[in-house]
Symmetry: C2
DNA sequence: TGACACGCTGCACTCCCTGCAACGTTGCAC
DNA sequence: GTGCAACGTTGCAGGGAGTGCAGCGTGTCA
């Protein structure tokens, strides 16, 4: 179901190839030079395509860095909807997050590089928020469906979606801090446990 | 201490005047035309200053909309540090948020307008995250100081700071939804209570 | 009142991003 | 295989954001 995407004819393969080349060139150049010294022109030169083509694949420079996998990649809201109906909301969210992060972790080196670039470039952080949770609204909707609430009328769905988004951000940051030694899933679970516990006022007071 | 800022000589008053004029023009034009149809040139024309001057006051177009009050405005981290030392972290955070939001609510009409513009322009939402919590790092640091933890080593401070940031965002959104009828403080308390309660799985199931 | 500080201005420039009109290749039906 | 339609790529022209720099005028302070 997720696999069938890649093999659909020469045309689509070439297209995917171009996107991949652009994303790879973007990441490499960003690591080498620093984000603000990477121009779209340099990226397209490295990927050997025209300047204009870049924007046929990405709506913004940041997208090439932060969302290298195309729009076919299932988003968090979709994963959440795919969870078995009976499950409690928080458990379903946790499971969806596990899937999402496991996917990210399939290429840990690239993720490390991306996070390095982001952390070195404060202006990218909000972009990460934007991309990573471009479907925060959609996620809120999915949560609402699960709890039988209304996204407009009730606070809970939007709040949970926003908090999850924040948790993901912190997870990525912390994972990077830990040098990638600990798995993403482990880190996000730590965050989710803290949240589910009501943000215990002062933890053990080290 | 906070008051003394405004009255410091003709020069500073004029400077503050231009900034205010630019911010006001920005908001008004954004409401009238929609954010993406507002150019910096139009803003400066309305405020009767040169194009270049705009960027002497704001580092980006969005800043004029989202952070109209200059950098002198005490940020959340500062307010958090100002809370009495004995207080529990969550209580201190809550108090700091109350102050922050009360300040915002001093001009409800402007806040309403700003939120209207933001909600009508998805790309502005992450910017709101950036601006509203440009000092999220600083807030995390302040939290760490309060809990006696280390921002680098411990997850808690960064997580709480991120979650608070998310809560503020949802609060503003919901306040707007409610038509400003309910006070910001009331709304944020609702969010904070939910968080402190550990995101109770499915609330009353309406 | 004279010298300095500093905000404002104009200009030239880089870069992001878009709309539009070709062009060449792929996919498909006959 | 041939012709046609679909589609990814390309080039170009242009608007708008944001920056560095040099000069000007006004507030500030000794």
């Amino acid at each position: 179901m997720i696999v069938a995407v890649a093999e659909r004819g020469l045309r689509e393969r070439k297209k995917a190839g171009t996107r991949e080349a652009l994303a790879a060139a973007t990441l490499q150049l960003a690591v080498e030079r620093g984000w603000e010294h990477v121009t779209v022109e340099a990226i397209t030169a490295a990927a050997d395509v025209s300047y204009r083509t870049f924007f046929n694949h990405f709506s913004a420079k940041e997208e090439a860095l932060l969302v290298p996998a195309g729009p076919d990649q299932p988003r968090l809201s979709a994963r959440l909807r795919a969870q078995p109906p009976g499950t409690a909301v928080l458990d379903a969210v946790r499971a969806a997050l596990h899937e999402e992060l496991a996917e990210l972790e399939r290429d840990p080196a690239a993720l490390r590089d991306r996070m390095t670039v982001v952390l070195a470039t404060p202006s990218l952080i909000p972009r990460l928020v934007e991309m990573g949770s471009a479907d925060e609204r959609e996620t809120a909707q999915a949560i609402a469906e699960r709890t039988g609430q209304d996204v407009e009328a009730d606070l809970y769905p939007a709040l949970l979606a926003a908090v999850v988004s924040a948790a993901v951000r912190v997870t990525l940051w912390r994972w990077q801090q830990l040098g990638g030694a600990t798995g993403l899933v482990t880190v996000v679970d730590e965050a989710l446990d803290a949240l589910a516990g009501g943000l215990p006022p002062p933890p053990p007071v080290a």
